[in-house]
Symmetry: D3
Subunit: 293 residues, 6 copies
């Protein structure tokens, strides 16, 4: 008897959970979590979802309990997990920057570089990463695992911390100064090495990757459409290279055309005044669910 | 003196309330509920909204206190209400399946079919429906009304329950086994029989039904747009019948066209890899508010 | 040394905060508020955001602590602030009506007009506005500042109140009667007089205004697209002037075209039945992020 | 082999749950509810707790699934359950009044007595109780089960309601008038008839009842202690009969004694001024956990 | 016809509401607030409660809409209300200190005294109090009403603020420095001047005051009881004057007595080690509901 | 210049935080936590509080950043911290049992003893404790740190877990079986070794310990008082040794005495029926704040 193949897929539990489930929905996979069961429902009979802390996903993908999973580059490195990296996802919508693990000290600390930490004590959630970094710089310091609220510790309990930041605003609020950056990290889709060799699983993972990337890409893109006199189109396109390969359609009003394209959302705020200046009218921007090149 | 006609419309209060108000907004009717008043505001002077428990709506439509309302097929049957059914709505987004009232017993119960319930006790919220079902099967059993938490009762307090489920995951979490299905139920728009005979009210209800259906339909559909070499269009459309009657527009890049269509969201995840394989580029998916055929 | 110019922009803190940040995001400016810092992050290095109570924004714009800000017309008048008004925004989505400051009394009060308030006591959050109004009508009455829950006071503590309302439903719930309207108010973007004279700041504010207006406009508009036999297009457009200047594209099915336009969302519910009647098929409505004419 | 006997005890789930568990703790039984299990923990190996809706407890006690339970007199009557009533508990702390099921109509309804309801429709949660009441008064009316928000229905959906009230303030807020009282109800401890015949169970239930009563009694009592000149004690006790059988102890200051007693909390506010007037000093009031006469 | 007299009593709405209702309950008056009615229930037919912002209570007591009310000394002064002050209550439990309105500037501000504020701008909720203070010091400065979040304004929007503080920790967290103290404020029970002349109302207010004071007093006191050899009592009492006028009772164990007294809770932590040193055993501390001297 | 000495005291942050602060208040130290500052306020100028995760407190006490702290015996062992143990506190009120770290497997696992884990993988928060335990039993297994939700992992991701439990109900809900117990743990007050040698600090810590113990002791004790005929006292005391060394006072009613004592709360439920049987009347139980022997 032939059992139906299933892909076991790990999603990050906790603070990223809701956002990830929303992105999965945009990718076309509706996941619903019940408080009564630790196995979420997904409307795809070929897939099984597990919600696991981001810190642990790469470990369980490596061991083969999961075929693939989404986790940060940082935790793959921290765990030293041997996994196949399928794809890297776009940065957060807010800052469009990756997460950064940085070495920090209080603003008024005498520590100016990693060298000044010789014989000191450092608190962090990423103990292995920090030890490797210190070794690389030939510095001997005590590294201790921090169970949370690491930023507060820098002022009293330890000499420095290694903490994650995106915009740096939480560090500033805690009056901390960045001494160095250890690692820049983005979310990754990783696969178990054996699963990746299995044809059915690999194809399923690749499709999943394409759809997720399409959904994430769509979060940073918008559709832009405008009317313009046909006579001005050539000039418009020439002067605004951001309008890559647009659709041009005729309008019912003769001599006018509609121009439509997909564009990075964050350039729209500079583009719209320029479009107006170039003679565009009735400019509309609309949201996208997926963008697959 | 001629008073302005008004349509009295019942919406389900409670767990479905927020979702229904959101769908009404998509249909074009903005409803806002104040904690200080039991009559919600709606931006249509020809309509009055009442929020009533889904279990009771069909009863008040039948009595004529409401001209129409949205409720489940299950409660129309349970109440035995004589109402005109105007429309049936699409299934839930998560599972795309209707709600099902099922006869359940603990996993390890000796009960294998309804016949084994002779002389037993059953707890349920749908007492009439359950009694009718037992009668049809010639089984005599005690049916008692359950005020809630019915699933827990199956293990200790009664011999079986009749409970509603969508994906079955809550039943599995409670270690219950489905013995039989009594009824499959979807949301309906129902009208009072006399209101349906009134020309103004009927037209208003039909428009409402069309817009609501359009909004619900739109939740399961998406817009899909892609660029493709004009030479490949015919093959693309032939091999992918899901792309029904698409719009084809010329692109500024000669020899290429844009193809656009509306499609079931849940097929997108299979379709996109196929489209890529067929030569499509720059595939985008965008959300819809309404789809009216 | 040349410092980079920065625009200091005040957004209303409190009940409107979340909605304003959402609109800013639609305008293309991603703002994130941290509980640890009173300065929100915005992904534009040329801008600094401050969250300040709507009641106070015009005052700090006048003083020059802010270059510009969003606040209501009511508070600009109440504060008597000398600021440059850059733009007025559209009304709320729910009622499409401006906020109104109204003079109210209990339903059964003998007060029929402002004249009946001679020698009485009035509670309000807008003390200056109310005093000016009384003076205009030659009425002498005591006006006292109300710290909140003003509606309740009308029944016991004072003779009348001046309170803000949008749909009037909260007044009705409190059994209050509107005697007169003092002011109708919409949100405004206001600039400091000197900032407006600075070329860089003025251009930045005008772009901001255009994008915000575009985002707000988009909340009340939708895109509408439909298929129709080419033969019927002329008649359709003639009979439905709401379909201003639509895009007309050919469909793959010969003899049919796609018609697309932007339209006020609240007319859609009347328009769709008419479009169906005129032979339109496959009507879809889709959401917009920005509309800039 | 002899199994240890266990008492199965039903506590009301839902709105009364937290208060009941707090009273159980005061009675000496610490119960903790886990979101992961439907069987609460209790620190008594001879007891098993079940949380069941108050409306259903008497039914499951009657059937023998529970040995005893706490529920309202109203639901015992509504269900017509044959159970042994072990004890009645004191009224709520707020109003010191029992719950009352009352027949209500809108303030301006023409209905003045139950007789005026002939041929009308009544909504209620207690259908049996209402039918019995109508029969007793020889009135024929339709009684329909209300799933909630019954008070709102009286104004539009039915002609009258039968609803529960304690202070009447919610009825007044809904502009309802009480026409008649059907039943006054207090919480009861009820036992299964067979369990009551079992010596071990009966003794366990009686102890439970004594401790619960002691805990509830203590909620309405306080300890009162004061110093007074020995010469004034006799007069004090004579003039204040509320000070039943007090403890009198000597103070270190000669000629003075301490008087201590237990007293109804709600008379303290009248008593203290009187005590002061009678020469008492250093009056203290302290809380009690249990009072068992 | 003789109507029953009623005392209209104002309690502070908002942040202090819950605490005040709890204290009222300890004083013997059970108040319950319904979300459906603005008039709270109280179990005393001679009293009517109104919940009003603390800032406004003295004004409505002065006008006679309330017979009495609880509010802060600060708001009585700010409003300049002519009311009779019946009693002052004890300080908050946390810090045992009154609230203080203080003039603050950023830590690094050049402002060292009120004199340095000449020509500057100050934000505060207590505009009148601040103006009076400036006048007293002969300083001319602009004072503007702050609608909230005043602490944040000190850094950017104004030159100084006048804000309320208890422990100063929020000021320190905002990096503000106290320049001067304007007013120290405790809660007061105030009466309308005419109500105070009415014999029935005055007696009712005085009883209320006595009971409330008793309840508040009890929050800072505890009962203390211990066993000690009779031979050591005299020495114990002599060396520990805090043990004022204790009750001394004989124990069943001969030669030992029990000593009991009421004491300030915050001295217990120093007292207990001393009592142990003096030979006391079995020391217990118990809570009190009321203490009336 | 002589600086005032201060004791730096660590309290567990997180799930135990609120309970610990409540116990501190009972001990006589009022602590208040501000969301704006990481240093809580305490009403003792000789003390500074730090809130730190229970897992880390012993480490910072060992390093001397804290003079003392409250943490579990488990984390002291897991961290291998060299600290002076000042006192052990009573068990939780609910179960009166210590926390236990137990080795668990799924109910249907073949693992019967630790020996069966050779070559397997174990997830736990206490990696060091688990490794030491395995070494003691001569078992080689992989131990991996679990970031949370450890119970769920036992079914799929690892072969066994080491998890903490109090009543075992969460383990049962997760269908896990306890194989062995590694450690039983209670909360401890620990001091830094040097701080303990400092006379002032040691005395401060000892007082703190006495007061905290007194407060915790009081949570499991109650005061019990009853009236009884003087003739029956001797018999009562003889037959009920739980009534240790009670106070006996005369009542105003001749021939009767009041008997009062302190007793374990959890024996009250057995004691009260016995007291009634022995002739006691008017039995009252009252709560305690502190009990110091």
């Amino acid at each position: 008897m032939n059992q139906k193949p299933v892909l076991r897929f790990g999603l990050p539990k906790g603070s990223l959970q809701e956002a990830t489930i929303e992105k999965m929905a945009k990718a076309g996979f509706n996941v619903s979590v019940s408080s009564r069961s630790y196995i979420p429902y997904v409307d795809d009979e070929e897939m099984e979802i597990r919600l696991i802390r981001a810190q642990e996903i790469s470990r369980y993908v490596e061991h083969g309990y999961l075929d693939c999973g989404i986790t940060g580059h940082d935790w793959i490195i921290e765990n030293g997990s041997k996994v196949h990296e399928v794809g890297e996802f776009l940065f957060s919508k807010v800052s469009r920057r990756p997460a950064r693990w940085v070495l920090c000290v209080p603003e008024n600390s005498p520590v100016k570089s990693v060298k000044d930490l010789e014989g000191k004590r450092i608190a962090t959630e990423v103990v292995n990463l920090t030890k490797k970094y210190l070794k690389k710089h030939g510095v001997k310091a005590e590294v201790e695992f921090s169970w949370g609220a690491t930023e507060v510790k820098a002022h009293e309990l330890v000499d420095a911390i290694v903490e994650v930041t995106e915009t740096g605003s939480s560090l500033r609020a805690n009056k901390l100064r960045i001494v160095d950056e250890l690692l820049s990290s983005t979310p990754r889709l990783v696969a178990n090495v054996d699963a990746w060799k299995n044809k059915w699983k690999r194809q399923k993972i690749e499709t999943l990757s394409m759809l997720l990337k399409g959904a994430l890409e769509a979060e940073t893109k918008v559709g832009l459409k405008m009317n313009i006199a046909a006579a001005n189109v050539a000039k418009l396109l020439q002067s605004l290279p951001a309008l890559r390969n647009p659709t041009v359609s005729s309008l019912s009003q003769s001599g006018w055309v509609a121009v439509e394209t997909i564009i990075d959302e964050h350039v729209v705020r500079e583009l719209i005044p320029a479009l107006k200046a170039a003679g565009a009218e009735g400019i509309i921007e609309y949201p996208l669910n997926k963008v697959v090149y």
